[in-house]
């Protein structure tokens, strides 16, 4: 294709075809013709602008073939469902391994490998699962109750104590035994009534016993299967993991819900959220999580459809409540804790820091939860006057320097969060200003994430920390608020200890009836709205950009990362 042919003889009509044919992959192959479009630039810029977006072709019937490239920031760590503890790994495992159960978008349980939700014994201790008939692994071997038992054994059976499973704490505590009366039936006996059992532990990807069963516990930690699973039970099977670059997966024709439409699903590792935005624009990736700050940059891109929904992810800050720590005495009085929260204009934080993509929290439970109480006993809205009167009433009066003090102790402390998280950094700045306005001297201090985690779970010399957290579908929040998790390694780093809170949380864990649980969590939310040991600032929104050629995705609060019951139904309109 010479310069003359394109530029002079064929005209715009030809040039349009030429552009369409010019895929990025052929860049160098066609570099010889590069002069052609340069020659055009002078006269044809408007034309080029006009044809830049292009309208997506919509086909109503799904068709087989093609691929989807999903972008994300983190590489995976393992593909073994019993060893993983990070979101990225769980997300990719979810594409290749199905559990007994799965979540609907709202977090309700639905059967996956199980034919139905399990039958529960009257005492609430025994769950009986029936597997779907004719389940097969990707290699054609049947998926039986033995595989299910084996999978759970890795994390609860003392025989497998050497398997480094992050799930051992819970599973070994709650599972008494697993029986397999026949290849389709799994009977799990639990040691005590534990309401979140199914929601927390019924979704682990089922592993093939015929591949891993012969390995010793120690060998399972380092099995090749963890990095290159030869056999899978989910919609896709494993092709390759090029570390730091991508995981490639291909259609599993033996999938119980029907073979996926797509030939391949590719999980691609990207440097950061800016790269996700750029590559959604260029079409290098089809699906990717979008930073709130990038939302507007993508909204105008005609090839990308935006999906936005509330998620159980939240940002909160915690006061040091251990009186033996330097700042502990400052926060013992709930009036101080409430006053500081009243002084924060959280709606402005949502608007300015999250560009409106979030929701001010009224409660410690997320709005996505069935247990959420929108109007708990104490509803804290931005009210500077109230904040000042609360502090005055509690005896914290302004000194000559404008800083409040009581009995010679100044209301002065340091706030920590992890450096590099722009939103959290901005929030600390806003808090510093807002609290300065009511005579409180709070200084931000940015530290590395590992140091922040150390501070929260063990060292605990902080005054106040700000961090994010993510709940599962069950409304149990005891990891943050139960006194038993104030021990080293637990996440109750604020050292919040309250008998009434403990009782409510324990009762709710031992109650199976959802209506009764909801009441208990309602009372708990009322209590927390009054005590405010660690106020939740806001609940985040999940935002995904999806290329318009991709059909059949259905992101939702609980169908975001690992649990995507719709993944086998995703297809692409252009078949590429």
């Amino acid at each position: 294709m010479s310069r003359d042919e394109v530029a002079d003889d064929k005209g715009f009509e030809q040039f349009e075809k030429f552009l369409e044919a010019w895929s990025r992959r052929d860049f160098l192959k066609r570099a010889g013709a590069a002069g052609a479009y340069m020659a055009f630039l002078g006269g044809a810029v408007e034309f080029l602008d006009a044809c830049a977006g292009g309208s997506p072709t919509t086909t109503t019937t799904a068709k087989k073939g093609g691929h989807v490239v999903e972008g994300n920031f983190s590489d995976i760590r393992t593909l073994n469902s019993m060893l993983s503890s990070d979101t990225a790994s769980n997300q990719v495992i979810g594409l290749m391994f199905d559990g007994l159960l799965n979540y609907k978008a709202n977090g309700d349980l639905i059967p996956a490998l199980a034919a139905d939700l399990p039958k529960q014994s009257a005492d609430g201790l025994t769950y009986t699962f029936k597997l779907r008939p004719n389940l097969k692994f990707s290699d054609g071997q049947p998926i039986t109750s033995d595989d299910v038992k084996f999978t759970y054994q890795l994390a609860y059976d003392p025989q497998y104590a050497e398997v480094s499973s992050p799930r051992r704490g819970d599973l070994s505590k709650y599972i008494a035994s697993i029986d397999t009366p026949d290849p389709q039936t799994v009977v799990i006996k639990t040691t005590q009534v534990f309401a979140p059992f199914l929601a927390s532990h019924g979704l682990y990807g089922i592993l093939p016993k015929h591949v891993l069963g012969s390995l010793s516990a120690k060998a399972i930690n380092t099995a090749d299967f963890n990095t290159a699973p030869s056999v899978t039970s989910g919609a896709f099977k494993f092709v390759s993991w090029e570390k730091g670059q991508q995981v490639t997966m291909a259609r599993n024709d033996n999938y119980w819900a029907g073979a996926p439409y797509l030939d391949q699903w590719i999980y691609k590792v990207l440097p950061d959220s800016v790269a996700v935005t750029n590559q959604l624009k260029t079409g290098e990736i089809d699906i990717g999580p979008v930073d709130p700050g990038q939302f507007d940059a993508l909204k105008t891109t005609s090839t990308v459809a935006m999906r936005e929904f509330g998620v159980p992810t939240f940002t909160f800050y915690a006061y040091q409540l251990d009186p033996s720590k330097p700042a502990g005495p400052l926060f013992q009085d709930k009036a101080v804790r409430q006053a500081l929260l009243y002084a924060l204009d959280r709606q402005s934080i949502v608007t300015a820091v999250f560009f409106g993509h979030g929701k001010v929290a009224n409660s410690v439970e997320p709005p996505t939860s069935w247990a959420y109480k929108d109007k708990p006993q104490v509803l804290v809205n931005f009210n500077k006057a109230k904040a000042e009167s609360l502090l005055d009433g509690a005896g914290w009066t302004k000194g000559a320097d404008g800083i409040r003090a009581k009995n010679g102790t100044k209301l002065k402390f340091t706030m920590i969060t992890n450096a590099g998280n722009k939103q959290r950094e901005s929030m600390l700045t806003v808090m510093q200003q807002a609290w300065h306005d009511i005579g409180v001297d709070a200084t931000p201090n940015l530290i590395q994430f590992p140091q922040l985690v150390s501070q929260i779970v063990s060292i605990r010399t902080f005054d106040l920390f700000l961090v994010g957290f993510n709940w599962s579908a069950d409304p149990d929040v005891s990891p943050l608020y139960h006194s038993r998790n104030a021990v080293p390694g637990g996440f109750n780093g604020a050292d919040f200890k309250n008998d009434q809170a403990d009782t409510l949380l324990d009762q709710a864990l031992n109650t199976l009836d959802r209506t009764k649980r909801k009441q208990l969590y309602g009372q708990f939310q009322d209590l927390m709205s009054d005590l405010q040991p660690s106020p939740v600032i806001l609940f985040n929104n999940g935002i995904y950009g999806v290329n318009t050629r991709v059909q059949g995705t259905d992101f939702g609060p609980f169908n975001q990362f690992a649990q995507r019951p719709w993944n086998h139904g995703v297809w692409v309109t252009d078949g590429k």
């Binding site: 860049f27 480094s164 930690n221 440097p271 994430f449 501070q455 996440f491």
Partner: protein, 323 residues
């Protein structure tokens, strides 16, 4: 003689390796706090799980015990497994080494190819407009941060070109996610990161060549060569350039570890799956074994690069003899 020299240098380098790895470990260990690598704020984890995983990684022991265990493994050719993903450290390094060599090797090559003529022109015509222009470009080369230049190139050659329906270059990775990996595909992905990196090398080295060339050209033997009636071309390239290149050999020899780590910033910005990016990410996650493995590897390369530069001196300058 030479063999003895190399052997002695090698023995001395063992001390360096021990020192560097020990310092790396102490720095990591002292700043880690009680963080357990790979453990995020995951509410599904219980305190006893975190304690057990810490013990599984050997982090419940003092760092010197950990170090001795590690050295023992290295002596036996075992670099251990990553604390984050359980893969062997060696597999991580070998997986990414080709990508890194592809990027930095290309950049260094382009850097040399451009730097030599640029430096020579600058020296021969010093004070001219061309020299001033090249000086400005070179100064820009080390003044402009690589991450910034990388982002700007991505914005122009990837996003903007694509938005206008023009042919564009991929902005991250070493090859396409789908059916990628053939030669042309890899070259397309290489263009932007290699441009940023080679610009830096070119700027640094061209300045060195320029000043070294200026110095050499003022030497007596150059005047003698000219006086003998030798052609200017022979004077500049045979007598001048060969001598002027000697300092460059040291510089490039010192860049040998840069083959592995030199592209760190560029690798991070372009999501290039290389060793620099690996080391950077794993250091932030306190993946002791991987960081130690890469450190060991990089230290060996620094030593080898220095040795190679010293030996090359002997080739370029017959006056140098090793004893």
């Amino acid at each position: 003689m030479l063999a003895k020299y190399v052997a002695r240098r090698f023995l001395a380098s063992l001390v360096v390796v021990l020192g560097v790895t020990l310092i790396t470990l102490v720095l990591m260990d002292r700043t880690r706090g009680t963080y357990v690598p790979g453990i995020d704020l995951n509410p599904a984890l219980r305190p006893e799980d975190i304690a057990r995983l810490r013990a599984d990684l050997g982090l419940d022991r003092p760092f010197y015990i950990w170090y001795i265990t590690w050295i023992w493994g290295v002596v036996h050719g075992d670099f251990g497994r990553s604390m984050i993903d359980g893969s062997t450290v060696m597999s991580h390094i070998l997986d990414r080494l080709p990508n890194t060599l592809e990027l930095t090797g290309t950049a260094i090559l382009i850097g040399i190819i451009i730097a030599i003529p640029v430096g020579v022109i600058g020296a021969l015509r010093h004070g001219s407009k061309a020299d001033h222009t090249l000086t400005v470009v070179s100064v820009a080369g080390f003044a402009v941060p690589q991450f910034w230049m990388g982002l700007i190139l991505i914005l122009i050659f990837s996003v903007t070109l694509e938005q206008h329906g023009l042919p564009w270059l991929p902005s991250s990775g070493a090859y396409s996610a789908v059916n990628g990996g053939d030669f042309i595909d890899r070259v397309e992905h290489l263009i932007l990161p290699a441009t940023v990196l080679s610009f830096f090398y070119m700027s640094t080295w061209s300045r060195f060549i320029r000043s070294s060339m200026l110095e050499v050209l003022s030497q007596d033997y150059i005047r003698t060569a000219r006086a003998k009636g030798m052609s200017e071309r022979r004077v500049v390239y045979l007598h001048g350039l060969r001598n002027a290149l000697i300092p460059l050999v040291t510089l490039i020899g010192l860049e040998l570890p840069g083959l592995v780590s030199g592209g760190l910033v560029v690798e991070v910005v372009f999501g290039w799956p290389g060793i620099g990016k690996l080391a950077f990410e794993r250091a932030l996650q306190y993946d002791y074994t991987t960081v130690m493995g890469v450190t060991f590897f990089a230290t060996m390369l620094v030593i080898a690069g220095n040795l190679l530069a010293d030996l090359l001196y002997g080739v370029l300058d017959p006056r140098i003899r090793y004893s």
